[in-house]
Symmetry: C2
Subunit: 385 residues, 2 copies
C-alpha cells in the first residue's frame, strides 16, 4: 500500500517551481545550488532561501549542446541548458549561485555559466589525504560567506548559523529515519518514492511545511509496517533488495530505478548524492560552526575525491544493514570519476560482502531503455539463483 502522505511529495517540486515567484515577491533572496557539497546552512543563515536548481530533464540538453560538447554528462548539459534557456524557475529567480569544482565537466561549464548570474565556485581539493584539507575547506566556506554577504547585502550571524545547523541536522535525522524503515522486508517505500522525498528536500520553500509532511509520512509508513506485521496474510515471495549507487539520479530521470522496480526488484535505498550521501553525517553542533561545516562537507564520499575509500566502506556497511542482494551502479554518460571507480567498488563489495554489482552507463534519453531492461532482468535472475 502506498502511503497517502506521498501525495504532498508527488506535487511538491512542481508546486514550488510556481511558488518560488511568491518567495521573491515577498522580498526574500534566493540562492541556487546544484550539489550536495554546497554548505547550504550558510545560505539559510543569511536569511536567503537555498534552493536546488534544475538539472535532471532531457529537454534542455539541446540548449546545452549549443555551447557544450555532446560527449559530456547529461546532468551538466541539462543544468546549463536549463539556465541558458530560462526554463528553470529556480535559476531564473536566484540572486546568486553556489557551485563547486567537483568534476572537470562542471568546473569548466561553470566558467560559461558565471556570465549569467553572480556565482561562487568553491574549490574542492582533489585529494583526500591532504593534511590541509579541512583548513582549505574552512577557508572556502568563509569565502562563500563573504560572497553571500556582499552579493545579498545580508549578514550571516552566528546565532542564525547555529540555529540553521540544528534545523538541518534534525531534517537529516528525519530523512534517515524514513530511509531506515526500508530495512523491513518487504521494504515499505519504493525507491522512487524515497527519491521524491530526498530530491524534494532541495526544492523546499517552506521548511516547516516539509517537516510536517515528512513526519506524517514517517508515521504512516511505521503504521503500514506494524499493521502488515500483525496481519496473517500469506507472505509474498521475496523480491531482490537492490541498493542504487553512482552518479546522481534525480526526479525526472529515474528511469533505471523504474526499470528495476518494474522488473521485480526492490530499490531499497540510494547511496548516491541523490540518496543518502548528504544525510549520513551531521554537522557538529558543539564546534566552531565554520569548521564544523568544513568537516561535514569535505567528507561526502563522492567519486570526485581521490582516493574515495569512504564510499566503499559506506556502501559495504549499507549492504549489511539493509540486507542488500545486489548493487546497481549508475554511471551517467562520460562521468569519468564514477565510471572508473565502479571497478574499485565492484571488487570491494565482492570481497567484503559477496554482493554482486551491475554497472549501467546511461544518459537521460529513453533510447537505451530496452537494453537496460535486458541487463537488469538478467541481473535479478542471477541474484535469485
Amino acid at each position: 500500500m502506498r502511503p497517502k502522505a506521498m501525495e504532498y511529495f508527488d506535487q511538491m517540486i512542481a508546486n514550488n517551481a510556481v511558488a518560488i515567484k511568491n518567495v521573491k515577491e515577498a522580498g526574500r533572496k534566493v540562492v541556487g545550488y546544484y550539489c550536495v557539497f554546497s554548505p547550504i546552512e550558510l545560505i539559510e543563515a543569511t536569511g536567503a532561501l537555498p534552493v536546488g536548481l534544475c538539472a535532471t530533464k532531457q529537454e534542455p540538453i539541446a540548449d546545452g549542446e549549443k555551447v557544450l560538447p555532446r560527449n559530456l554528462c547529461p546532468l551538466i548539459k541539462s543544468s546549463y541548458g536549463f539556465a541558458a534557456s530560462g526554463k528553470c524557475p529556480f535559476f531564473h529567480f536566484a540572486d546568486a549561485i553556489v557551485a563547486e569544482t567537483t568534476c572537470d565537466g562542471k568546473k569548466k561549464m561553470y566558467e560559461l555559466m558565471e556570465k549569467m548570474k553572480p556565482m561562487i565556485v568553491l574549490d574542492i581539493p582533489n585529494t583526500t589525504n591532504l593534511e590541509r584539507r579541512k583548513q582549505h575547506w574552512t577557508e572556502e566556506i568563509l569565502r562563500m560567506k563573504d560572497f553571500l554577504e556582499d552579493t545579498l547585502g545580508q549578514e550571516v550571524t552566528i546565532d542564525n548559523l547555529r540555529n540553521t545547523i540544528a534545523t538541518y541536522n534534525e531534517e537529516r535525522k528525519n530523512i534517515m529515519e524514513l530511509v531506515s524503515l526500508n530495512k523491513h522486508e518487504p521494504a515499505p517505500m519504493s525507491g522512487i518514492d524515497l527519491l521524491k522525498v530526498m530530491w524534494g528536500r532541495s526544492f523546499q520553500i517552506d521548511r516547516e511545511e516539509f517537516k510536517t509532511n515528512l513526519l506524517a509520512l514517517i508515521d504512516e509508513v511505521k503504521d503500514i509496517v506494524a499493521n502488515r506485521e500483525q496481519s496473517t496474510a500469506e507472505k509474498q515471495p521475496k523480491k531482490p533488495r537492490i541498493l542504487v549507487t553512482g552518479s546522481p539520479t534525480g526526479v525526472g530521470q529515474e528511469k533505471v530505478m523504474k526499470i528495476i522496480e518494474d522488473a521485480g526488484g526492490q530499490v531499497i535505498l540510494q547511496e548516491a548524492c541523490s540518496g543518502i550521501k548528504g544525510f549520513v553525517d551531521l554537522v557538529d553542533e558543539t564546534a566552531d560552526p565554520y569548521e564544523a561545516l568544513a568537516a561535514k562537507y569535505m567528507d561526502i564520499p563522492c567519486s570526485c575525491l581521490s582516493p574515495n575509500p569512504r564510499r566503499m566502506e559506506l556502501t559495504s556497511g549499507l549492504c549489511n544493514e539493509y540486507a542488500i542482494d545486489g548493487v546497481v551502479d549508475i554511471t551517467l554518460q562520460a562521468c569519468h570519476t564514477y565510471n572508473i571507480e565502479s571497478y574499485t567498488l565492484k571488487e570491494y563489495l565482492r570481497e567484503h560482502n559477496g554482493v554482486p554489482l551491475l554497472q549501467i552507463e546511461t544518459d537521460y534519453s529513453q533510447s537505451d531503455n530496452q537494453q537496460i531492461k535486458l541487463r537488469v532482468d538478467t541481473f535479478l535472475e542471477m541474484i535469485q539463483g
Copy 2:
C-alpha cells in the same frame, strides 16, 4: 630541405627505450612522469633520471580497457595499458612515479596504477584565483621532495637543485630558440619534426648528448633559412600557417598534424603541453628554489585549471608572433576540459585575432582519418579564401 640533424631525433626515443636498461644497470635510479606539471628538476636534483612514460600509442589501449571504461581519453587508457602490460620500458625500469591530479580521468586511473609502483600524486588546485595557490604548490613540491628522498634513499641538495634549474632553463631557452625559427616564412621545420624534438626532450637519458644535438639542429636550421633567403629561386605559393593546440599530441599519435601537413598546411608550432606549454616560462633562478618551482609549474596554462585565461592570452599572442592563419584545436576523446574550453578559445581568437579555429575530436585509432582529412581540407580552403 629537411635538416640532417633530425636523424638523431628520429631514433632517439626508440634508442633510449633500449638504453634505459643500461642506466639502471649502471646504478642510477629512474623516476617516471607523465605530465608537463611534474617538477622534474626535483627528480634530477636527487641524482635520479627523470623520464617520460609511454602514453601515446593505440596498441596498449585494449589492455587499459580491461579495467578502465571505453569512453575515456585514449592517453589515459594507453598510459595504464602500457604500465599494466609491461610494454613501456621506462615504466618497467622506474623506481618511482610522479603524477598529478590534472583531470578526473587521470586522478582516478592513478588510484589503480599506484598498486604497481611507488607513486606520488601531486594535488593540483582546480581554481586559478585561489589566494593560497602558490603556497599549496610549494607544499606539494616539498611533499614530493620527501617522497623522492624516502623512496630513492637519495637526498635533494640545494646546490644540485639550483644547478638543475639552471640546466633545465637553458634547455627551455634552446628549445624555444628552435621553435622561434618557425617565425620565418616558409617555416623551416615541419610540425612533426618539432614534435620529435620537444617530445623527445622527456625521453632523454643523456642531457649533454641531447643538448649537443639540439644546438647542432638549431645551427643547421639557421643555415637553411639564411641560404634560402640568399637564393634567387622563385618563391613557392604560401601555405597556410597553422597553430595546433588542445590535448597533447605525442609521438605515435601525430595523425592530425600529418593530415594537416599532407593537405598543404604548415604546422608552425604546438601550443599544447606536447608543444611549448612547458617551455614558455623559466624557473626564477634568484628565488627560493621550491617557491620558484611552484611559481613556474602552477602557471602552466592547462585547461584543467579553471578559469584558464593564460591559455587564451598565450595562444592569441602566438598567433600574432608567428603570423598564424588558422588554429586547429585537437580534443582527445572525452577530454572534458579541453573540449569545453574550445568554445572559449574560439570566441577569444575570433575577437582578438580574427583567426579561425577548427576543433577536431579524435582518439588514437585511424578510423576517423578520412573524416578528419575532409574537415582539414575544408578548413585550409576556407583560410586560403
